[in-house]
């Protein structure tokens, strides 16, 4: 029975009204046909191409154009973007606020990218902070967090989180020794701060729909950091235990909230970590392959049970 036949049946039985039938039958035939996704994607690509060209042009021709002209153009564009956004944004609300127009989100996105280009230009040409690039990233992260919350924009929130990650990375890159260990600790600190901040903001009711973005980024950074510790030559047991704890928490969270990306993280990162420990001193090909067959089947059975019990629908 095709969908159109089903809709006809539901209309005849009075489950749906004739108006609903007309609307739903039309939608299933693509009438009207929405090009929302296509326009958004093209706008995204267009802005990305525009700013990429802008950055490339500025970096290539800065000597010929002169600092004044470059900064004037970039500042004018930046001011125009932010003026446009602030002049059209609706009153702030802590809940999810739909954007007044498709264009506003992308102008904000354009402005944020131009800010990054201009900041990079200023520091590279004038060295105002004498190479203390991390302070720019921290300031940029702060600005992007403000913009993300003011305009309810996930794009800019992602920029903010990546700028903050860059600040953590660049800060410790100044430190000369024990890089791996230090990076790992800072990655864990970053994930805890991001996850904690996301949870706190959600509890306070400040854009609670952003929590998923915070949590996904925090979880992935945390898992990578812990996994890198498991591959250490010494002192890996602590990291292994921490990884198992994180996997357990991720699995429990994913099942409780029906967020199956966390179940997938627990399965994949956990399996890699456990395999790294169990196969560490194993050199026998038969044993290694047997391990993968047996544990692979065990994982498959476990995941099928989860899928049957919790994750039926897409």
């Amino acid at each position: 029975m095709t969908l159109l036949t089903r809709l006809e049946h539901w209309k005849e039985r009075g489950v749906i009204s004739p108006e609903q039938h007309t609307l739903l039958a039309g939608l299933s035939r693509g009438e009207p046909f929405s090009v929302f996704l296509e326009l958004n994607s093209l706008l995204y690509v267009g802005i990305l191409a525009f700013v990429a060209g802008l950055g490339w042009t500025v970096s290539t021709w800065s000597q010929q154009l002169g600092d004044v002209l470059v900064l004037a153009v970039l500042s004018t564009m930046l001011a125009a973007c932010f003026w446009y956004c602030f002049s059209r944004v609706p009153a702030w609300s802590p809940g999810e606020t739909p954007s007044p127009s498709l264009v506003l989100d992308y102008v904000l996105y354009l402005g944020s990218l131009i800010w990054s280009v201009e900041l990079a230009y200023i520091e590279t040409r004038f060295h105002l902070l004498s190479g203390q690039w991390d302070f720019y990233l921290l300031g940029t992260a702060g600005l992007f967090f403000f913009l993300a919350y003011r305009f309810d924009n996930r794009f800019v929130l992602s920029f903010a989180l990546s700028s903050l990650a860059g600040w953590f990375g660049l800060t410790i890159s100044h430190w000369p020794s024990h890089q791996d260990e230090t990076y790992r600790q800072y990655a864990i600190l970053y994930s805890l701060i991001v996850g904690g901040a996301g949870a706190l903001l959600q509890r306070r009711g400040l854009k609670p729909h952003f929590f998923g973005t915070y949590l996904n980024i925090a979880a992935n950074v945390l898992f990578w950091a812990l996994l890198s510790g498991v591959f250490n030559h010494e002192g890996y047991w602590v990291w292994f235990l921490a990884l198992l704890t994180a996997c357990g928490a991720s699995l429990a969270w994913g099942l409780a909230r029906r967020q199956f990306s966390f179940v997938a993280y627990a399965a994949v990162y956990g399996y890699v970590g456990v395999s790294a420990i169990l196969l560490r001193n194993l050199n026998d090909g038969t044993a290694i392959l047997s391990y993968f067959v047996v544990t692979g089947i065990a994982m498959l059975v476990f995941l099928v049970q989860i899928a049957r019990r919790f994750g039926r629908e897409a």
């Binding site: 089903r6 489950v15 609903q20 739903l24 939608l27 035939r29 693509g30 009438e31 009207p32 929405s34 090009v35 929302f36 996704l37 296509e38 326009l39 093209l42 706008l43 690509v45 267009g46 990305l48 191409a49 525009f50 990429a52 060209g53 950055g55 042009t57 500025v58 970096s59 021709w61 498709l102 990054s116 900041l119 990079a120 590279t124 794009f155 989180l161 990546s162 700028s163 990650a165 860059g166 953590f168 990375g169 660049l170 890159s173 990076y183 950074v221 990578w224 990306s261 179940v263 994949v268 047997s290 993968f292 067959v293 498959l300 995941l303 099928v304 989860i306 899928a307 994750g311 897409a314």
Partner: protein, 394 residues
């Protein structure tokens, strides 16, 4: 011929659409509760995350099991022996995929998909080992293409078709060493496929198969475009693009310029067809082809690239989108000729949310210049991170 019955697939489609419509407020919760039980079928499905993980673990098990067999049974098997056993494992893997569907009723569950994919891989590996000394290499891509097509048709797995298309490229490389002939034969293969799909499609316009054939048509259009755009398949791609250098003529001048004309003709044809059919995937193929034509036009003509080219391209795209959006929004009820810029499906929102989070994390890194910490006379130069971007320290 298809492993799932039409009524099951229609039920799956109806179920998905009902969920989407309820989410968008086109149906009340009470209506949804009443209609949903009538779309139940016995197929087992799962969400995308578990599907991917199940696919990966099944792949791991099959590869490890096959390797274990050779390690345990043979210490150093001859290539022919390996090939024969791989050719035995291929149908076994395929049979397991069929069983997973017929007995366990798996539908887009990852397991049956991985088993079907493994059957193609094992078949090709087996043929490779068995036929290598005989110079019958054409058997491998032929068998790979045929089995991929069969998996595409039988299981409805959209990604099996690109696999068959890649095998077709490999096949032509084996037939002739002439670059021109290879491009023409590949394009002819895809055109034959396109004609077949276009002939079959109208019968399934409003059924569950519409999306299946829509994706196939889009892939074939894109395949034809890629086959005729010599700048995308050039071995000196990067050198030509960035250096403005035209390598020694691999192609005759008439062929070269004929393909240049074609890369300008094809995108509008695809776009018009997509718009007329209101086909999302064909429209996307047309847009991608148009974008690639704009990007490859200068290398084609041998003109030098400028740093502001991406800016112009970006400005053009932004202008076109804004014009279309305004034009559609000005229509009655924001609809013109059956098209609207409004969001009508929750799927679009989910795609946008996932896309914004993912691309938001990477885009500042890729486009903003890198910080310079060197000497004061260092010039401002392009790079890969900085500004709002993250370093890759984690």
């Amino acid at each position: 011929m298809r492993v799932y019955s039409a009524s099951d697939e229609e039920s799956v489609r109806a179920r998905d659409l009902l969920k989407d419509w309820a989410g968008e407020g086109f149906l009340t919760a009470a209506q949804y509760q009443q209609m949903e039980p009538e779309t139940v079928c016995d197929l087992r499905r799962t969400n995308i995350f578990l599907r991917i993980v199940l696919f990966l673990f099944t792949l791991l098990i099959v590869v490890a099991a096959v390797a274990l067999f050779f390690v345990v049974v043979f210490s150093r098997p001859a290539e022919q022996t390996t090939g024969v056993f791989l050719l035995i494992f291929a149908p076994a893997s395929y049979a397991a995929a069929e069983l997973a569907v017929s007995q366990a009723r798996l539908y887009r569950f990852g397991i049956e998909e991985a088993l079907a994919a493994c059957s193609v891989g094992l078949l090709c590996a087996g043929l490779q080992a068995v036929t290598r000394p005989d110079g019958t290499d054409f058997l491998i891509p032929s068998a790979g293409a045929i089995l991929s097509l069969w998996v595409w048709h039988r299981f409805g797995l959209a990604y099996a078709l690109p696999s068959a298309m890649i095998f077709a490229v490999w096949l032509t490389a084996d037939w002739t060493s002439s670059q021109t002939a290879q491009h023409v034969i590949v394009a002819a293969f895809y055109a034959a496929g396109l004609i077949t799909v276009a002939a079959i499609r109208p019968r399934h316009r409003f059924t569950y198969l519409n999306d299946h054939y829509s994706i196939a048509e889009a892939l074939l259009w894109l395949g034809i475009y890629l086959a005729i755009n010599l700048k995308l398949s050039s071995q000196h791609l990067l050198v030509e693009w960035w250096g403005g250098f035209r390598p020694a003529d691999e192609f005759s001048r008439p062929f070269y310029w004929a393909t240049w004309v074609l890369i300008w003709c094809l995108p509008p044809i695809v776009l018009v067809r997509g718009v007329r059919l209101k086909d999302r995937f064909v429209i996307a193929a047309g847009v991608v082809a148009a974008f690639l034509t704009l990007v490859t036009n200068k290398p084609y003509l041998g003109w030098p690239r400028h740093t502001w080219d991406p800016m112009l391209l970006g400005a053009l795209l932004i202008s076109v989108v804004l014009f279309i959006r305004r034009w559609l929004a000005a229509g009655p009820d924001e609809i013109r000729h059956g098209f609207t810029a409004r969001r009508l499906s929750g799927k679009d929102k989910r795609w946008m949310s996932a896309g914004t989070a993912a691309f938001g994390l990477v885009s500042p890194n890729t486009i903003t210049p890198s910080p310079q910490t060197g000497t004061p006379d260092v010039h401002f130069e392009g790079g890969h991170s900085g500004g709002g971007g993250a370093s890759s320290d984690f």
